[in-house]
């Protein structure tokens, strides 16, 4: 192979198309994670619950090491970590498990309108069973009002479930304050931390968190694995959703997937070691992207708080350009949109609507997710591409034309269909 060919190959490799900017949807497995997992598919294949031979012991040791790695990144005791199939199962188990266990004494749950669908849907199911659920609103910046939370807690409240980081807008809820309030009131505090673990420092004791959902594939681990942190002191009890052999302290039966557990553990260890430097790197890239876009395009609006936000997320409305039409114009970028057209329901993002974003502005939003493998060259390419596409589509947009002519779009009687 000649030197020239090598250069070409490495150049092609450095800007892989389409450029992945959807790290809140999922992340690739870190190669170091895959390497750690591989032996547990083949030679170290034992059942971690087999107590009678070395194959089982070897697998059990690997699973317990992974449990320690998961516990370490959230400041927990390994005994408090239960492996699940992912954050959806963890959220289901936390909400339904706690509600069912304490149903004789308490029947009220508090959550937030911007939660992930699996939390909201678990709450809907509990409502059908007779539980009462309060859905707290959020302020324009996406954060809850602690006074509203305080006012919503009653002596019937068993659980408060507030996500750590929102999947669409990346905002960080005031976890320590929520935890302190819940502890004072004697109410359990669950947080869906799928988007937070590995992205920001978390400490279940300092933050008074009683239950925490964790996802593998959001932090460069494998899909199909997650964990639920369940506090032992003061003890949180829950009714299992999956029963059987009584694994995971009876809270989640089923043979553990050793390679997946190992992958989640390794992913947590890597994230914990690299979080400080990675956060700074991502913040620099995020700021570069936001500045690149806002310097060159007018009428661009950031959705959600900029300060209380993980650095790997931007959610931007490009006024007068429809989100799906925009995504088609930036097909070299893998991103997601809050536009109705991208969803089966034909409703724009309920998260953006909850912030009070106008329905027409919700249609114009893009979520840009940055992560471990995002480079400066990719950001610069993405900015150029977005600016070009938005400019082209605005030239084609009757709304842009009217706004430029000074017509107030709200003064027009639109025929809604």
């Amino acid at each position: 192979m000649t030197a020239v060919t090598k250069t070409n190959n490495s150049e092609q490799h450095s800007l892989h198309h389409p450029i992945y900017l959807d790290y809140q949807a999922t992340t690739p497995c870190d190669p170091r994670v895959v390497e750690a997992m591989l032996p547990y598919f083949t030679e170290k294949f034992g059942n971690p619950h087999s107590r009678n031979h070395a194959y089982g012991w070897e697998a059990e040791a690997a699973v317990e090491k992974a449990r320690e790695q998961v516990a370490a990144i959230i400041g927990a005791d390994p005994k408090e970590v239960i492996f699940t199939s992912g954050a959806t199962e963890s959220n289901n188990l936390a909400l339904k498990g706690v509600a069912h266990f304490y149903r004789e004494k308490k029947d009220h749950i508090i959550t937030v309108v911007t939660e992930h669908k699996c939390v909201l849907d678990s709450c809907r199911h509990l409502e059908q069973e007779g539980f009462k659920v309060t859905y707290l609103p959020v302020k324009q910046n996406g954060l809850i009002d602690l006074d509203e939370l305080r006012a919503a807690i009653t002596d019937r409240t068993v659980l408060v479930s507030v996500m750590a980081v929102n999947n669409e807008i990346g905002v960080i809820q005031p976890l320590a304050e929520i935890g302190k309030l819940c502890r004072e009131k004697g109410v359990f505090f669950h947080t869906d931390a799928a988007q937070a673990v590995g992205k920001m420092p978390l400490d279940v004791n300092a933050m008074n968190i009683d239950l925490m959902s964790i996802s593998g594939h959001k932090l460069y681990g494998p899909k199909g694995i997650g964990a639920l942190y369940v506090r032992r002191r003061p003890r949180v009890r829950l009714t299992a959703l999956i029963t059987g052999g009584g694994q995971e302290r009876g809270m989640r039966s089923g043979t553990l997937a050793t390679p997946l557990c190992v992958g989640l553990g390794e992913a947590c260890a890597i994230a914990q070691a690299e979080m400080g430097a990675e956060t700074e790197r991502l913040r620099m890239l995020r700021d570069r992207m936001l500045k690149g876009i806002t310097d060159r395009l007018p009428e661009v609006y950031l959705n959600g708080d900029l300060e209380q936000r993980v650095p790997g997320n931007l959610n931007i409305s490009f006024a007068f350009v429809e989100g799906e039409g925009l995504m088609m114009g930036i097909k070299d970028l893998a991103v997601s949109s809050g536009s109705a057209c991208t969803s089966a329901s034909l409703e724009p993002s309920y998260v953006l609507r909850a912030l009070g974003v106008d329905i027409e502005m919700a249609h114009t939003s893009l979520r840009l997710g940055l992560g471990r493998f995002t480079t400066e060259a990719e950001i610069d390419y993405a900015v150029d591409h977005i600016v070009e596409a938005v400019s082209r589509l605005r030239e084609m947009s009757p709304l842009w034309e009217m706004a430029q002519a000074g017509i107030d779009l709200k003064s027009i009687e639109w025929a809604e269909h």
Binding site: M328, C341, W400, H417
Partner: protein, 129 residues
């Protein structure tokens, strides 16, 4: 969402984008849809004294299918009489562009835009019905 080749072609090379000058004669403008619904089409036709559509222009806020539907109808209405243009059906647009069921409303909007532009032209020239 997988788009048909024709939708992609119209999206990437839209025909007749723009607006006629305010001073131009014989122009009818149709503005349909709503920003809150995620699509707005503006279709303009320029009609000759003989009642034939000589030129057409569009601007659209919307998804690729909405842009393609409006781009397509600017091509189709040119050279047609007002009655012929008014007879264009959304089903023909949807079929030509191979729109999936969730995008049928884009073709409906394009048909509405033609009718609205014709009605505006008639109103402007005192031929209101």
């Amino acid at each position: 969402m997988a788009y048909s080749e024709k939708v992609i072609d119209h999206y990437e090379n839209p025909r007749n984008v723009g607006s006629f000058g305010k001073e131009e004669q014989g122009v009818g403008t149709g503005l349909v849809g709503a920003p809150a619904c995620g699509d707005v089409m503006k279709l303009q036709i320029k009609v000759s004294p003989e009642g034939v559509i000589e030129d057409a222009k569009f601007k659209t806020f919307g998804c690729g299918s909405a842009i393609a539907s409006s781009s397509l109808v600017t091509e189709w209405v040119k050279g047609k009489t007002l009655d012929e243009a008014a007879a264009i059906k959304n089903t023909e647009i949807a079929q030509h562009l191979a729109l999936p069921p969730v995008k049928i409303h884009c073709s409906v909007l394009a048909e509405d835009a033609i009718k609205a532009a014709i009605a505006d032209y008639k109103k402007n020239t005192g031929q209101g019905e």
